[in-house]
């Protein structure tokens, strides 16, 4: 492990009882949803991680607890290192406190996760869908959401399929 990251990981182990894993030279630290805001604030203020590079999630359906991992990819410009925080979230009512007050970039990224995974961010200032239309049902990037194909219409079943086909409103 990077000798800049080592003390950070150690302090996380002591403070948050966090576990970590390494893969291809990247460090992933696991923290819980309750600790994430404190952890992000600590990284930003004490360890100079100024940039929240990416905020995303992974769905491990059909596994239910944890079903999602919310991923915070942080970069430090001063020290030129990156670290990843992962927050496991359960499948029923996935909720994570919002990071908008720590990094404002989280605003849109969290809206994207709400839209794509249905993960709620408590205290988010603007919880609307961002990419999909407002009346979309379901969350497209969940693994139980079908990829979606259009039903081919033939002469014999044209009308039948036409009836349930979604069209834009007249």
């Amino acid at each position: 492990m990077d000798n800049i990251l080592e003390p950070i990981v150690k302090s996380f182990q002591e403070k948050f009882n966090a576990t970590y894993e390494e893969f291809r030279g990247e460090v992933h630290i696991f923290v819980t949803a309750e600790q994430i805001i404190e952890a992000l604030t600590l990284l930003r203020d004490k360890h100079e991680f100024e940039l929240l590079s990416a905020l995303t999630a992974v769905d491990y359906w059909p596994q239910q607890s944890p079903r999602f991992h919310v991923i915070y990819q942080l970069s430090s410009i001063a020290k030129n290192v990156t670290v990843q925080l992962r927050v496991p979230v359960n499948g029923d009512q996935p909720r994570v406190p919002t990071a908008t007050r720590v990094y404002e970039v989280a605003n849109w990224r969290e809206r994207e996760l709400l839209d794509m995974f249905g993960i709620e961010f408590e205290g988010h200032p603007d919880p609307r869908r961002i990419l999909m239309p407002e009346d979309t049902e379901g969350h497209p990037l969940r693994k139980d959401f079908p990829l979606g194909y259009e039903e081919p219409q033939f002469t014999f079943n044209f009308e039948e399929i036409d009836l349930r086909k979604p069209y834009a409103k007249e």
């Binding site: 893969f23 291809r24 590079s53 995303t56 991923i71 990819q73 410009i77 970039v105 990224r109």
Partner: protein, 409 residues
């Protein structure tokens, strides 16, 4: 008869000021079909006369589900989706994707392939900046700039076509190397371009840089300071125009960027004019890299020799049983990637283009997330346009260099 539906402004209640509901200020849609929104971006503006009180960007009109689609394809096939992402930086997107795959499966890239990758991504950066500078001029009513920029862009697209057979969606860079070696005409074509281009940049600068109308419209408009930029995840030329020297090509060199001598243009003003200057300077720097890489271009193979991931050459298939098996397995099933996740980032013309790639042991990616720079760069817009005029909004929007395909994915 079609009915015009009233927009439900209730959902924007927390985003606009109270004056919008008393009728004191006006809510106005700019886009999604407005020419200066560069694609299909809708901006809901709250206007007090001509002053912007609030600006609410509405995105998603170009959402094509690229991340979801990539999960259903093998690692090799998923690459074509990345071309369609940011259509101004197709080669750079391929590079970001291939680097992530190579990191995930631990695959090497031969030096010649690395150098060709650098040349092509820098050419693509020049293409992207040329389109930027052209449309920037167009938005500010310097329409001739567009013609000049597209003249040079055409030369570069011809070079891409020479290598890959495609002008834009090249998919030339593949995991483990590049598709095939560049043709013999490649070097002369690039050298011709290197010869004429510095003069052409001088032409652009003669047109724009000291143009008094342009200066009036750009200097001091849309100021962005470093702290706000970092809070909003702004990277790339917009961040460098604010005064922070942060370029992934220098900070975390990849593909042998450390061998090339180039500067990272930085300005401290953070206004629209600074962003313009940074873009023009980057044209010159990219050209420097292309020239150096071409001079140093090593000989050798352009694809990795690792047969677990790379298909064997045609000549071996007729004589080697293993080659035939590998060929068959790789084209039908694809290669498996280990369980685990990587995040790899490159410097795209717009900023940090990151790829989160997770494998589950199978031949298809389990999750791909594209950290696209335009998405975060646009999120700062509503902050910096407050209190400016609508005409300035156009200039600011043009200067932060967004591509809607990059935002909506």
């Amino acid at each position: 008869m079609s009915q015009i539906e009233e927009v439900n402004y209730e959902q924007y209640k927390h985003l606009v000021s109270e004056r919008a509901f008393t009728g004191e200020t006006m809510l106005l849609n700019m886009g999604p079909q407005h020419p200066s929104t560069h694609g299909v971006l809708r901006l809901l503006l709250e206007l007090d006369g001509e002053t912007v009180v609030n600006c609410i960007p509405d995105i998603g009109f170009l959402h094509t589900g690229i991340e979801k689609n990539m999960e259903a394809k093998t690692y090799a096939k998923a690459e074509v989706m990345t071309d369609r992402l940011d259509y101004m930086n197709t080669v750079g997107n391929n590079l970001a994707y291939c680097m992530a795959v190579e990191k995930l499966v631990d695959l090497d890239v031969p030096p010649r392939a690395q150098a060709i990758r650098v040349i092509l991504t820098e050419i693509q950066r020049i293409i992207s900046h040329l389109v930027w500078i052209g449309t920037f001029g167009l938005d500010l009513n310097a329409s001739s700039m567009f013609m000049y920029a597209f003249r040079e862009r055409e030369m570069l697209l011809d070079i891409l076509e020479l290598c890959s057979g495609q002008r834009m969606m090249t998919t030339f860079i593949r995991p483990g190397g590049i598709w095939r070696d560049v043709p013999v005409e490649f070097e002369t074509a690039v050298r011709d371009f290197i010869k004429i281009f510095p003069k052409r940049i001088d032409e652009y600068e003669a047109l724009l840089t000291k143009n008094p109308i342009l200066l009036d419209r750009l200097v001091g408009i849309g100021k962005l300071d470093v702290a706000t930029a970092l809070q909003h995840g702004v990277t790339g030329p917009s961040l460098r125009a604010s005064g922070l020297n942060w370029d992934l090509r220098k900070a975390r060199p990849y593909m042998g960027y450390e061998q090339y001598d180039f500067n990272v243009p930085v300005r401290t003003e953070g206004d629209t004019y600074a962003r313009y200057i940074v873009h023009v300077e980057e044209l010159r720097e990219s050209l420097k890299i292309v020239e150096q890489a071409l001079n140093k271009l090593p000989m050798g193979p352009v694809r990795s020799d690792n047969r677990k991931f790379m298909t064997p050459p045609r000549s071996e298939i007729g004589v080697s049983m293993e080659a035939l098996i590998h060929h068959f397995k790789l084209w039908t099933e694809g290669f498996p990637a280990p369980k685990g996740s990587v995040y790899s980032a490159v410097e795209s013309p717009r900023g940090e283009l990151g790829l989160y790639l997770e494998g589950d042991g199978g031949p298809k990616p389990y999750r791909v997330h594209l950290r696209t720079p335009s998405f975060d760069n646009l999120s700062v817009l509503s902050k910096i346009v407050k209190g400016t005029l609508v005409a300035d909004l156009v200039a600011i929007l043009a200067s932060i260099d967004i591509v809607l395909g990059d935002i909506d994915r």
